[in-house]
């Protein structure tokens, strides 16, 4: 294949990957957050597929298909099932940090990610490693979402963002993740989301809300 479309496609997929993470911080509707999560899964699968096509590796392309099925379809579907349909539960009403501030924080985290990954990128500059900062930024933004959101479901979304970022970092920074490791990670992830889904449902039937701060007050 020619060399020109490859870096461009890589940049576009990485841009979409980072943008959907920021979109999760931007939107307050939980259903919109889950849609963005699916979009991010698709972008991650795209990154892996582009890598696979570039390296002529059938294994990577198969992994990309697996990643796509799991992160763009299965996990958002599970999260949507946990959403329930009561209107009071449909929004992240009062995050710990308000939306405008968390967007600025996301910008700062992105710049931080660019700053700390510069030595890593300088080790082996290639189209795959130049988008490493985007993956690290998604890790940081996912962690930020996990810390500042109150609803159980948005914390699940934050956790999945974090994991998407880690997976992307693994694919971009290393020569390739062994299939068995990737399978193990994916299976773990699926189990975590299933458990959290059950937890959210139990939480709602017990307290009528999935606000995790209520849980702390119960202990006091």
């Amino acid at each position: 294949m020619t060399q020109t479309p490859y870096p461009l496609a890589m940049d576009l997929a990485a841009g979409l990957f980072l943008l959907s993470a920021i979109g999760v911080l931007w939107r307050q509707q939980l259903s919109a957050m889950i849609r963005l999560l699916g979009l991010q899964g698709a972008a991650l699968a795209g990154i892996v597929a582009i890598l696979g096509v570039h390296q002529h590796s059938l294994e990577l392309i198969l992994v990309a298909v697996g990643v796509g099925v799991l992160r763009a379809a299965a996990l958002p579907w599970l999260a949507r099932r946990a959403l329930g349909d009561s209107p009071a539960e449909a929004r992240e009403t009062r995050p710990v940090v308000n939306v405008a501030t968390s967007l600025l924080a996301a910008a700062a985290l992105t710049l931080l990610a660019y700053a700390v990954t510069r030595p890593l990128v300088a080790l082996a500059p290639s189209p795959a490693t130049t988008i490493l900062p985007a993956a690290v930024a998604v890790v940081l933004i996912g962690f930020f979402t996990l810390v500042t959101r109150r609803r159980a479901l948005s914390q699940v979304v934050g956790f999945l963002l974090l994991d998407n970022g880690i997976t992307a970092t693994a694919f971009l920074a290393t020569a390739g993740v062994p299939l068995i490791v990737e399978l193990g990670v994916s299976f773990d992830l699926l189990l975590v989301v299933l458990v959290l889904q059950v937890l959210t449902t139990r939480l709602r039937t017990a307290f009528g809300s999935s606000d995790l701060d209520e849980l702390r007050e119960l202990h006091d």
């Binding site: 461009l8 576009l12 841009g15 920021i22 967007l103 910008a107 710049l111 660019y114 130049t130 900062p133």
Partner: protein, 318 residues
């Protein structure tokens, strides 16, 4: 500069100013007509803003008692800055004689000057609505200007110049740049701030006169006759120039170089592009509601982040 080139440059500037001044009310008419048709109304027709302007221009301006020079000068200054903008921004040609003035910072400064004189005039009337509208407009302005600067900076980083004509020329030479992440992010950020700056939905509703929600309308409430015509005309020209700037930066095909021959085609292409963009904006407005004023900073913070990411990616992915 030699004779024929000078003639071509002057002709291009004149054509650009005339097209923007004559086309701006028509653009507003097209947007209203698209909206009316989509809402199932017949609509007043594309020429209605021109008929309104003609009616207003025949009437005497009336100034409220107690207002000073700020109120009287504002329509003239707003119109003046809009005309200068129409003359310097590369809309149909990259070889304009005012090219050195088409610097990013100069253009944003001119835009801001127009907004600020209008806000001063609104405060000068001393009415509650005027002050409220001015305070809201300045709040939005303070969030919009950094975003415009940062977003266009992302585009100028790869060219190495903040001159708009240089940016447009570079994009013409390397069309693949348009789909780079920096360019796409900057396009999204600029799109949002253009909507905010020109007072369209979801930031401000141009069709309403509900006191509690209006921004632009609250500021121009005390104007009448010729003054009102100037303010409305200048506002529509700003909208046209900003939409034209968007098309020049991200869809620059058809813009003429220094020659005279390509000008008619460039004018036609500009008309088509801006009309399509305006119609799209008008159609999109049917489907969205006005955002609560307190949530506008969220929207603008989002667009600022997009612009910042555009700058980051233009530096790091290059």
């Amino acid at each position: 500069m030699s004779g024929p080139a000078q003639v071509a440059a002057v002709a291009a500037t004149a054509a650009q100013v005339v097209v923007v001044a004559a086309g701006a009310p028509l653009l507003v008419g097209v947007m209203r007509q698209v909206r009316a048709r989509l809402e199932g109304r017949a609509g007043a027709g594309v020429g209605q803003p021109w008929r309104d302007l003609r009616k207003l221009l025949r009437r005497q301006p009336a100034t409220p008692a107690g207002t000073g020079w700020a109120f009287r000068l504002a329509p003239l200054l707003l119109m003046g800055t809009s005309l200068v903008l129409a003359a310097v921004v590369p809309l149909i040609s990259t070889g304009l004689p005012a090219d050195p003035a088409a610097d990013l910072f100069a253009v944003v400064g001119l835009l801001t000057l127009g907004t600020v004189v209008l806000a001063l005039a609104a405060i000068d009337t001393g009415t509650a609505f005027g002050g409220m509208g001015a305070s809201r407009e300045i709040t939005i302005l303070a969030l919009v200007e950094p975003t415009i600067l940062v977003a266009v900076l992302a585009l100028s980083a790869r060219v190495g110049s903040t001159n708009l004509a240089a940016v447009v020329t570079a994009t013409l030479h390397d069309p693949l740049q348009v789909v780079s992440p920096a360019s796409l992010l900057a396009a999204a950020a600029l799109g949002i701030v253009v909507v905010a700056e020109t007072g369209r939905l979801p930031v401000d509703n141009p069709a309403t006169h509900l006191e509690l929600t209006m921004i632009h309308e609250a500021m121009v409430l005390e104007y009448a006759g010729t003054d009102l015509a100037l303010v409305e005309w200048a506002s529509s020209m700003r909208l046209t120039v900003l939409l034209g700037l968007l098309t020049s930066l991200f869809l620059p095909w058809g813009i003429a170089g220094a020659g005279l021959a390509a000008l008619p085609l460039a004018v036609l292409v500009l008309l088509v592009k801006v009309a399509l963009l305006g119609a799209g904006l008008g159609a999109a407005e049917v489907f969205i509601a006005k955002l609560r004023l307190f949530r506008v900073p969220e929207l603008l913070a989002g667009s600022f982040v997009l612009a910042l990411l555009a700058v980051a990616s233009s530096f790091f992915l290059a």
